[in-house]
Symmetry: C2
Subunit: 120 residues, 2 copies
């Protein structure tokens, strides 16, 4: 027989599995600049210096690291065009769109939480 508790709560193993998933997700998206860079590139593909200008405050070292991390996770690609001099374009992958609903949820929650904190 189902109780309210069964509906609301997870079992311990479900909880542990879910916890592992959440931690894995956070591991990929952690750091100060990952989500800003993704959002910046989802909007349109850009060059290194363009990203630097758009995301004010990020240093070239950190941007370089973030781009590498994101590429390793298949969220962006680095395309080299053999012009002279070479043109390098970073763009969000199709795979990065799997983050859309997550980013949406994060955005909604962040917004309503900010309001909640203000009013209290």
């Amino acid at each position: 027989m189902k109780t309210i508790e069964n509906e609301i709560l997870m079992s311990k193993t479900e909880c542990a599995g879910s916890l592992k998933n959440v931690i894995d997700a956070m591991y990929v998206l952690n750091g100060k600049w990952k989500l800003p860079v993704i959002l910046c590139l989802v909007q349109s593909p850009k060059r290194f210096s363009e990203i630097q200008h758009e995301i004010t405050g990020i240093s070239p070292k950190v941007l370089s690291n973030e781009l590498k991390d994101l590429e390793l996770n298949y969220l962006i690609t680095r395309k080299v065009y053999p012009t002279t001099p070479v043109t390098i374009i970073y763009e969000a992958t199709e795979y990065s769109h799997t983050l859309k609903s997550l980013l949406n949820e994060l955005s909604i929650w962040g917004e309503q939480h900010r309001k909640k904190i203000k009013e209290q």
Copy 2:
């Protein structure tokens, strides 16, 4: 006239607003142990030492800090029962359930991403 780009992309201002919201959300949920503690308490209310035992690896100092942070953000409550000795129970608030769909999305994405990384 709507183009495909209009459907997929956000405007710059929408993007900036969304980014701020996402950053705010991450600010509340950051750190290694916040989400584990929330999940642990959503499952059932618990005492300090019970949380310590369930979340292996967390030190009392860190747990103490996380509990305070979460309480400040109305995600858990600290209830003191005047037994002798006093019993202190931490429990997830009703408000913490606003995180449910977010945690769900995070869990789903984390799981599929782990699979994706493995297979490549």
